[in-house]
C-alpha cells in the first residue's frame, strides 16, 4: 500500500454520516432552503412584473420619440421624416407624426358636468399602428384590425378581450355605438316633447299669439350647450339640465345626431369608467356620446378653444397612467382646430414623430445618431426607456433592494450554520483527536467541516430550487387557494396591470442565487473548521 499518501475518503464518509445523524444541522438546511426558494419566487415574479410593465410601456410608446420643445410644433413633418430616414433609415421600421397637447375633457353624467385633465393626442390612423401596439388596446374588434374614428354600429366587446378569463364583464357596451346614440337622441326628443306639453298646458290661457310664436322659435332654435348656460331648474326644484343636449348646427344646418357624429375620439377607458364591487365595469359615458374638449391653439400666446367630439371607442392599455390621461383624435382634425396648418402653403405642423425600430436595431445608437443631425435646442429626441427612465429605475432599484433583503435571509441561515458547527466541533472534539491519532492532517480535519458545510449548502440550495420553481410555476393556483382560504383578494387586477401574476424564470439569476447560498453555507463553516483543525490531539482525546 502507498505509504506516503493522505487522502480524502474519510472526509466524504464522515460528512455523509454527520449529514444523516446530526438532525440539528438540518435546521440550518431548512433556512437555506426557504431563503433560496423565496429569492427564486420573488425574482421570478419581479422579473415578470417588470417585463410585463416594460412590454406595455414599450407597446404604447414607440421606440424613439422625436419631438419639438414648443407646443406649436415644427412644420413639414414629411421633410423631417425624410431626414430621419436619411440619418438612420437602415434601422427604422416605421414612423408616424403626432400632435399632443394638454387639454380638458368635459362630459355630462346625469346632468352634471364631469371634467378631466387629459393629454389630447392627434394620430394618423393609417400609420400609427406601424409604431405602436395602440390598435390591440381598443374595444371594438374591427378597430383593432384597422382603426377608424367613425362610430361603429355596435359590436363592442362586452368583456375584457385582453383577459383570458374574459372578466370583468361590461354589459353597458352591448348597445354602445350608433344604437346607444340613437337611443339617446330619441330620449331627448321625448323629453323635449314632455317639457313642451307641460309648458303649453301651463300657459294655455294666457299666452298671446306673439308669445306662442316666440315660444316655438325658442324651442326649435339651436341652443348654446356650454356648461355655464346649461343650468335650468323648475319651480319645484326639478333640474331641467338637458342631459341629452349635444347637437349644434354644422355648416348652416341643424345636425341630425341620430345620423351624424362629431369628430371621433378614442379616450382612455379610465377616464370614463369604474369597477363596482361585483367586478362589473360601470361607464360614465359610452361610444356614441358627445363630449367637449378644451385645448390651446398653436401660436403665441395660445388661446383656449373648445369643440365637441363623439366617442367612437375606448383605449385600454392596462397602464392607468395612460388609460386615465390619453385621448386620441385624428391628427388632421386637431391640426385644423389648433391652427397648425399654414394657410398659404397648406403644410401642417406636428410636435412629435414616433419612430419604431427594427427588431435588431440598437436603441441608443439610433437616438445618438439623430441627436447629431437635429439640434438639441429645437428638438428633443429620446428613447422609450429615457421617457420612462424614473419608473423603470424605480423598479430596478426595488428589485435590487429586495434581493439584498432576501439574501439576508440566507445570511442568517449562514449564522445558524456557524453556530451549529461550533457546537458540533465541541461535540466531536474527541473524534477529532482520534482522527489525528490515526494520521489525519489538520487540513484534512478542516476539510471534513468545510465539506459538511458544502453538503448542507448543496442540499439546502437544491431543495430551495425545487421548492422555488414549484411555487413559481403554480403561483396563480396558489394565489387562488389563498384567496379561497382567506376570503380576501390577494392580487387585484384593478390595481396591477394584469390578471394573472406574471413570472419569468431566469436561469442566470437562479444560478447566482444557488451559488450565493452555497458560498454562504460553506463560508459559514470556515471558522468552525479552522477551530477543529487547531485542536491538539492529546487534549482532544482527553475531552469529556
Amino acid at each position: 500500500m502507498a505509504d506516503n499518501a493522505i487522502g480524502d475518503m474519510y472526509k466524504l464518509l464522515l460528512c455523509w454520516r454527520y449529514l444523516r445523524t446530526r438532525w440539528i444541522a438540518l435546521a440550518s438546511v431548512i433556512s437555506v432552503t426557504l431563503g433560496v426558494a423565496t429569492m427564486i419566487v420573488v425574482n421570478s415574479v419581479m422579473a415578470g412584473f417588470s417585463h410585463e410593465m416594460q412590454t406595455r410601456i414599450h407597446g404604447i410608446l414607440s421606440d424613439i420619440v422625436f419631438e419639438s420643445h414648443s407646443l406649436s410644433g415644427f412644420q413639414d413633418p414629411q421633410w423631417h421624416i425624410e431626414e430621419i430616414e436619411r440619418a438612420a433609415g437602415d434601422q427604422i421600421a416605421g414612423m408616424t407624426p403626432t400632435v399632443a397637447v394638454p387639454a380638458m375633457l368635459s362630459f355630462q353624467v346625469r346632468g352634471q358636468w364631469v371634467t378631466r385633465q387629459v393629454m389630447f393626442i392627434g394620430i394618423d390612423p393609417r400609420t400609427h399602428a406601424q409604431v405602436s401596439d395602440f390598435g390591440q388596446y381598443l374595444q371594438h374588434p374591427t378597430n383593432r384590425e384597422q382603426l377608424s374614428f367613425s362610430l361603429r354600429e355596435g359590436g363592442y366587446d362586452t368583456t375584457d378581450s385582453q383577459n383570458p378569463t374574459k372578466t370583468p364583464t361590461r354589459p353597458a357596451l352591448e348597445h354602445a355605438g350608433w344604437p346607444h346614440r340613437r337611443m339617446r337622441v330619441e330620449r331627448e326628443r321625448l323629453w323635449k316633447e314632455r317639457l313642451e306639453t307641460k309648458k303649453s298646458a301651463e300657459n294655455k290661457a294666457t299666452r298671446s299669439v306673439d308669445q306662442q310664436v316666440q315660444d316655438v322659435l325658442a324651442a326649435t332654435s339651436p341652443k348654446d350647450d356650454s356648461p355655464e348656460t346649461s343650468s335650468d331648474v323648475t319651480e319645484d326644484g326639478e333640474s331641467r339640465k338637458n342631459p341629452f343636449q349635444t347637437a349644434r348646427p354644422a355648416q348652416g344646418r341643424a345636425m341630425d345626431p341620430a345620423k351624424e357624429q362629431f369628430t371621433g375620439i378614442v379616450p382612455g377607458i379610465g377616464l370614463a369608467s369604474f369597477r363596482n364591487r361585483q367586478g362589473v365595469d360601470q361607464f360614465l359615458t359610452l361610444p356614441g356620446d358627445d363630449v367637449k374638449i378644451t385645448f390651446p391653439t398653436a401660436g403665441t400666446p395660445p388661446k383656449a378653444v373648445s369643440d365637441n367630439f363623439t366617442i367612437v371607442d375606448f383605449y385600454e392599455s392596462k397602464m392607468s397612467e395612460y388609460d386615465s390621461n390619453f385621448v386620441f383624435v385624428p391628427i388632421d382634425a386637431l391640426q385644423r382646430m389648433r391652427g397648425m396648418i399654414d394657410p398659404q402653403t397648406g403644410i401642417p405642423s406636428v410636435n412629435s414623430i414616433q419612430i419604431r425600430l427594427k427588431p435588431d436595431a440598437k436603441l441608443n445608437e439610433v437616438r445618438d445618431r439623430l441627436r447629431e443631425v437635429f439640434p438639441s435646442d429645437l428638438y428633443a429626441i429620446a428613447t422609450w426607456r429615457d421617457k420612462q427612465g424614473p419608473l423603470l429605475s424605480a423598479v430596478d432599484m426595488e428589485m435590487a433592494v429586495l434581493n439584498i433583503l432576501l439574501f439576508l435571509i440566507i445570511a442568517v441561515a449562514g449564522f445558524g450554520i456557524l453556530a451549529i458547527f461550533f457546537m458540533i466541533v465541541v461535540e466531536k472534539t474527541r473524534d477529532i483527536g482520534i482522527l489525528k491519532a490515526l494520521g489525519a492532517t489538520s487540513s484534512g480535519i478542516a476539510g471534513i467541516f468545510l465539506g459538511y458545510g458544502l453538503f448542507l449548502g448543496l442540499l439546502g440550495a437544491g431543495a430551495g430550487l425545487v421548492l422555488g420553481l414549484s411555487i413559481t410555476y403554480n403561483i396563480n393556483q396558489i394565489r387562488l387557494a389563498v384567496e379561497w382560504c382567506t376570503g380576501s383578494r390577494v392580487f387585484d387586477p384593478s390595481i396591477y396591470y394584469f390578471f394573472q401574476i406574471p413570472t419569468i424564470i431566469d436561469p442566470v439569476t437562479i444560478g447566482w442565487i444557488i451559488i450565493g447560498a452555497i458560498v454562504i453555507a460553506t463560508g459559514s463553516s470556515v471558522l468552525p473548521a479552522v477551530r477543529a483543525a487547531r485542536l491538539h490531539a492529546v487534549e482532544a482525546l482527553r475531552h469529556e
Binding site: A5, T441, L541
Partner: protein, 237 residues
C-alpha cells in the same frame, strides 16, 4: 527499533511548571514487548504520546528504525502515525458514527484518496474482515460502537491499529476500562501478536500482573526511568 534519548516534557499550569518527563532514555528492540509501569502521574501516558508523535517533546529525541522522527514536518509525522505507529487507548476511542468494520478501515480511509480507495477497497475490506475475524468479531462487522461491549470495542481498536501493518504498537492502559477476564483476553491477544507476528509492542499499565506478561518492564518514577527487568529495557541516570 524505537528509542527515546533524554526526552523532557513539561506542562505549564498558570504560574506552575510541571515537569512530567525529565530526560527519559528508552529503547525498544525489534520484536520487543515492553511494559511501562509507574504510579499515576509518573509520565507513562506522556511518554507514549511523545513516542507516538501525538505530542512534541520539549527537548530530547525520538528515533524509529534509526531515523529521528520528533523533528519531522507535521505532514511527515501524520504519515508516520498513519502507517508505522499503531495506537490503542484506554477509552478505545472508536468513531461512534462508523461501524466496527469502518472503524478498522479508518486509517486506510485517511490514507487513500477517492480514486485509490476504489481500486484498493476490496483488498482493504478483506484485510479488515480478517482482522475482526481473528479477534472473534466477524458477526459484529456492521455494529456501531454503542452496540459493542468494552472488550469488543478494545479488540476493534486493536484491529484498527494493526490494519496498516505498523512497525510498533503503542497501547495506553488497554485494559483499564475492562473487567479482569476481558483484560486478560486483550493482553493475551497482544502477546500472541508479539510472539506470532513479531510485532514490537509498548504497553503502558499500572497493573503489575499485566506488566508481568510482557517480556520486559520499564518503571517510570517522577519522570525518570527505573529498570525493573532486564531484557529490552535500557537505563538512564
Amino acid at each position: 527499533m524505537l528509542e527515546t534519548r533524554q526526552v523532557c516534557k513539561q506542562y505549564q499550569s498558570g504560574t506552575t511548571t510541571l515537569e512530567v518527563l525529565r530526560g527519559v532514555d528508552f529503547t525498544l528492540e525489534k520484536e520487543g514487548f515492553l511494559a511501562v509501569v509507574g504510579q499515576s502521574g509518573s509520565g507513562k501516558s506522556t511518554l507514549l504520546h511523545v513516542m507516538g508523535l501525538l505530542d512534541a517533546p520539549d527537548s530530547g529525541e525520538v528515533w524509529i528504525n534509526g531515523r529521528r522522527i520528533d523533528n519531522l514536518p507535521v505532514r511527515e509525522k501524520d504519515r508516520l502515525r498513519n502507517s508505522s505507529i499503531g495506537m490503542v487507548f484506554q477509552a478505545y476511542h472508536l468513531l461512534p458514527e462508523l461501524t466496527a468494520l469502518e472503524n478498522v478501515l479508518a486509517p486506510l480511509l485517511i490514507r487513500y484518496g477517492i480514486f485509490d480507495w476504489f481500486t484498493q477497497r476490496r483488498a482493504a475490506q478483506e484485510k479488515a474482515e480478517e482482522l475482526l475475524d481473528r479477534f472473534g468479531l466477524s458477526d459484529r462487522l456492521h455494529h456501531r460502537p454503542r452496540q459493542l461491549s468494552g472488550g469488543e470495542m478494545q479488540r476493534v481498536a486493536i484491529a484498527r491499529a494493526l490494519i496498516t501493518d505498523p512497525q510498533v504498537l503503542l497501547a495506553d492502559e488497554p485494559t483499564g476500562n475492562l473487567d479482569e477476564e476481558s483484560g486478560a483476553g486483550i493482553i493475551e491477544a497482544l502477546a500472541e501478536l508479539n510472539q506470532d507476528k513479531g510485532l514490537s509492542i509498548v504497553l503502558v499499565t499500572h497493573d503489575a500482573d499485566i506488566a508481568s506478561q510482557a517480556r520486559g518492564i520499564v518503571r517510570l518514577a517522577a519522570g525518570i526511568v527505573d529498570i525493573m527487568n532486564s531484557g529490552a529495557a535500557d537505563s538512564a541516570a
